[in-house]
């Protein structure tokens, strides 16, 4: 049994993504999501790699679209909750984001 635990020797690493004064956009989250779904090995034959990269690009666009749909739908829910709570001006502000 061997553990590969050192960076630079086939080990592991994490990356960090941060934002300032905003959250992540659907496009940014979609890119992260796609990287978890589709991984293309550096050692893959060029033809297969090209096909896989094209597939990855398609998946990313689909994920981004539906993430934006989810954001829009959630804003509708939030706006309705704010309006019903007597804060129509806040609802308008949220809707305009």
């Amino acid at each position: 049994m061997s553990f590969t635990d050192a960076i630079g020797t086939g080990g592991f690493s994490v990356s960090v993504a941060t934002t300032s004064h905003r959250g992540f956009t659907p496009a940014e989250v979609a890119a992260r999501c796609t990287n978890r779904i589709v991984a293309v090995a550096d050692t893959a034959p060029p033809a297969i790699r090209q096909q896989a990269e094209a597939f990855r690009g398609h998946v990313e666009k689909v994920v981004e679209f539906y993430m934006q749909e989810a954001v829009n739908s959630d804003r509708t829910t939030v706006c309705n909750a704010l309006t019903e709570a007597g804060h129509p001006e806040l609802a308008t502000l949220i809707r305009s984001l």
Binding site: T18, S20, H21
Partner: protein, 143 residues
């Protein structure tokens, strides 16, 4: 002192052989990720979570965030496990690295993570992105 790369704690390797950790999603142990400043001093001999030099700021509580386990699986002859990305929302914090630890089995350390440089979020999201869960990249794997 400072962070000196990513490494698995030696005590964790031993504890795998004594069945201390269970990474099963849902029924397994709870694992947390705590973040630290570059003043933290960790080595392979680190055995447990510590509050010393842990980051503080809006959107971050001592002890860090709870990770979502991914049930261990295999790829070829390699066994591996993974965690879902972890986000600290609406956070104003700066961190240089992190420790994953088992919060069910005491606070036993699992791995130390070096972000490579200080990472900062200001009234935004701070997300730790885990690597692809395959035989070459997964965060924890036995080959």
């Amino acid at each position: 002192m400072a962070f000196t790369g990513n490494f698995m704690c030696t005590s964790f390797k031993q504890e795998l052989l004594t069945a201390t950790h269970d990474f099963t999603n849902g029924t397994g142990d709870a694992f947390k990720l705590a973040m630290y400043t570059n003043s933290a001093s960790f080595t392979a001999a680190t055995t447990a979570y510590t509050v010393t030099n842990e980051v503080s700021g809006t959107g971050y509580s001592a002890g860090g965030g709870t990770l979502t386990n991914v049930t261990p699986t295999t790829s070829g002859t390699t066994a591996l496990t993974d965690f879902a990305d972890l986000t600290f929302s609406s956070a104003t914090i700066t961190a240089r690295g992190a420790m994953i630890y088992n919060s069910t089995a005491g606070t036993n350390a699992v791995v130390i993570l070096d972000f490579g440089s200080d990472k900062t979020s200001t009234a935004g999201d701070f997300t730790i992105v885990f690597p692809t869960a395959d035989a070459s990249n997964a965060i924890i794997r036995i080959a």
